[in-house]
Each structure stands twice: as structure tokens, then as C-alpha cells.
Symmetry: C2
């Protein structure tokens, strides 16, 4: 059982841990498939888009601008270089709409952060596009509970080690809460720090991971964020 | 005259302070104008691109992905929605090429950082796309001299104040070195910290500012980065 007694810093992932995000991408993917329907089936369009996304991560990283460039590249391929100016425009506008989407907090997210912030140093550790992530945090209304915002280009062991050093905190004093086994849980456990996994309804295929295989006394899985309050 | 005696942290801007950057954007702008030549004069194309860039900063921020989306949007407008799939592809590829451009350090940049790092805590403070900036710093070979990398979404007084707090350093102990009056000099001087302006041959129109109007004993203008060694 996870021992919370010496925790000093609780770090929350942002997208799909504090607020809905992936569902917006899913909706946008559906719209992409509709725009591509003169050229390809829904299945072909999704497959090409996912392939393009993964291929471009080293070049573009994460975030909406990368996603729009991926949609355009996949669209050019699927249309065999026949993508019209109007279709290009529609894809760009899907991105702009996504950037401006309102933030929908998960139930209990604000109350949990509010209460925990009285006892712990609360931070947000997220990856992706710097401006997008900062804007979402500001718009979320949660900034008043946060003592630090860390946007990483990749959430790996090395990045978390650097963060812990920056925060001047020992691994056993650090708890990460998130919905991605790959980005929020495994690298944190590898450092000897603690991790709470809260699966979300939608998870990007690239972040999927099997939590059932994790056996660590530094790890626990919860159903919703407010359950943290009973344990901390 | 700038008093260097109590400086502890020297922070360098990255693009066009440590290495060439703006010249690559200028070359890409020329290529954009060539691709647009069936639709518009060079002057019209540049004007539309600049207008689009400034308009989209709140939405897209800075960096190459934003620049590509700006080129596409300006291209759609200039072509009156006739931009061909091939032209779209060429614009996307301009961006990919830009992202992969080799880093060309300015004369004396490495030697200056190497020598100063023996006496001072050297950091890089830059704005723009997180992944792009990190990748450039890693590829520059300068990482071994750096104790911290700060990528900001906007280099304003508030962001610098937060950085100084994070570094636990007083304004009079902090020196910023950069090529942008707007982003590297004015917000730093406003905090009571010190600033060295090194104008670069090319500066993005958005970053232009008049250094001749600055009268502060915390400020000096130098011609090249290696001149710092004579003063520090």
C-alpha cells in the first residue's frame, strides 16, 4: 500500500487528468475523416493520420500545431496530392478551433487541488506545446493552487530527475498523478518516486500502457481524482 | 558604466545571440514569395505573411510550426483560395527543412560560454517552441556549459521575475545577454537587473526596438559576444 507520509510535492498531469482533452482530439479526428471522405474510408484516414503523427513526433513534438501539420500531411497523402485549398483551410480551422476549446474540468478536480494545496506543494507537470499548455492552465482557473508549472518536451525519467533536482525534493517526497502509464507512472516509479494512476475514458493510442502489470508499493490506481482526498 | 561585480547568473538568449537563426527565416520567406509568385508580388506576399504572423501570435505563439501555419494561411489568402496541394506540400516541407537546419554558432560564442562558465552560473533563456529550442540547444554543443534552460512562451517582466525567483537570485545578480531590445533588454532592466545588448545582423521585425533611447547604468551595448570576456 502506498505510503503517503513523507510526500511534500504532488504533481498533476494536465490533459485528461485535470480536464478533458483527448475527447476533443477524437472529435477532430472524426471531422478529419469527413473532410477526407472523397478520398479514403474512415479506417484508411485514421490509419494514415496515426502513422503520420507517430512519424512526426521527433520533428514536431506534441500539441495542436503538430496535429494540424500531421492532418495536412496525411491529407495530402490520402488525396494523392489533390487536397484542395478549401480542404486545407478547413483543416487549419479545425486546429484553431481546438486551440480555443473551453476547458472542461473533471468532477472534483478543483476541490481536490484546493484542499491538497493547503498541505502540499502542488504543481502541474505536462508535456506538449508550451503556449498551449500554459494557456490551458491559466484558463482552467486552477493557477491559484499551483506553486510551479513544468512543461516538458518529453515526460521521461531524465526529465523527471531534472525536475526533482530543480524542486530540491527527494524521490520519496514526490507524488505524480496522471492518466498515462507511459508518461506519468513508469518514469516516476523508475526514479523511486510515487505515482497514482487515474485512467481516463479516452487515452491517446500513443500513451496507452498496461497498468495491471505494475507491481510496486509506490503505485496505486484510483477511479477518480477526488479519491486522493481520502488518502492524503 | 555597467557594474559586473555582483553578478552570479548570466543568461543568454539563444536565437541570433548564440547562433544564426533569423537569416534562415529570411531565406524561407524568400522561398515563400517564390511559391506565391503566381498569385502575388513579392511585396504583397511579405506583407500578408507578416500580417498573418502578428495576428496569430496569441493563438500559435512563436516557432517554426506556427510559421508554417502562418505561411499556409497567408498562402490561402494570397491565392484567393486557389493554393494547390503541391504548393501546400512545398510550404510544409520548408518548415521541416527549417526545423532540421544545422546550428551555426556565432564566432566566439562557445569560447565565451566556456570561459564564463568557470566563474558564473550560465543559463539560456529563450522563447518559442519548447521542443525546437531544446533540440537546438542540444545540437549546439553548448549544453555542457549550461546550468539551466528556460523556455518561455513570452519574454516579459512577469516571466523574468518568475525565473529570478526560481533561480533564487536577486535582480542585481542577474545579467541577460541578447539581441532583442523588446524581449531581452527592456523587461530585464524594468526588474532592476542588468542587460547587455548585442545587435544581430538580422532581427525579426516583431523584435525590433530602439536601443539608443535606453539610458540606464545597468545597460551596455556590445558588438560581439566575445567582448564580454574583457568585462567579466
Amino acid at each position: 500500500m502506498l505510503d503517503f507520509s513523507n510526500i511534500k510535492v504532488i504533481s498533476f498531469d494536465a490533459d485528461d487528468t485535470l480536464w478533458q482533452n483527448e475527447n476533443l482530439f477524437r472529435k477532430t479526428e472524426q471531422k478529419f475523416c469527413t473532410i477526407m471522405s472523397p478520398y479514403a474510408s474512415k479506417e484508411q484516414s485514421m490509419k494514415e493520420l496515426w502513422k503520420t503523427e507517430v512519424k512526426n513526433i521527433p520533428c514536431y513534438g506534441y500539441g495542436i500545431k503538430a496535429f494540424v501539420l500531421d492532418m495536412l500531411e496525411a491529407g495530402l497523402k490520402l488525396s494523392k496530392n489533390k487536397l484542395s485549398a478549401n480542404e486545407t483551410k478547413r483543416l487549419i480551422n479545425l486546429g484553431k478551433k481546438l486551440i480555443k476549446s473551453p476547458i472542461v474540468l473533471f468532477d472534483g478536480a478543483e476541490n481536490t487541488l484546493k484542499k491538497l494545496s493547503k498541505k502540499y506543494k502542488i504543481i502541474v507537470t505536462t508535456k506538449g506545446d508550451l503556449l498551449e499548455q500554459e494557456n490551458k492552465i491559466y484558463r482552467s482557473g486552477l493557477i491559484k493552487y499551483l506553486r510551479h508549472i513544468e512543461v516538458m518536451s518529453e515526460k521521461d525519467k531524465k526529465s523527471y530527475a531534472r525536475l526533482l533536482k530543480e524542486l530540491d525534493v527527494k524521490p520519496q517526497e514526490f507524488l505524480m498523478v496522471g492518466n498515462s502509464v507511459k508518461s506519468d507512472i513508469l518514469p516516476v516509479l523508475a526514479l523511486g518516486a510515487k505515482a497514482v494512476f487515474i485512467p481516463s475514458k479516452f487515452t491517446w493510442f500513443y500513451e496507452n500502457g498496461d497498468a495491471s502489470k505494475i507491481s510496486s508499493e509506490n503505485f496505486i490506481e484510483l477511479k477518480e481524482i477526488s479519491q486522493l482526498l481520502k488518502m492524503l
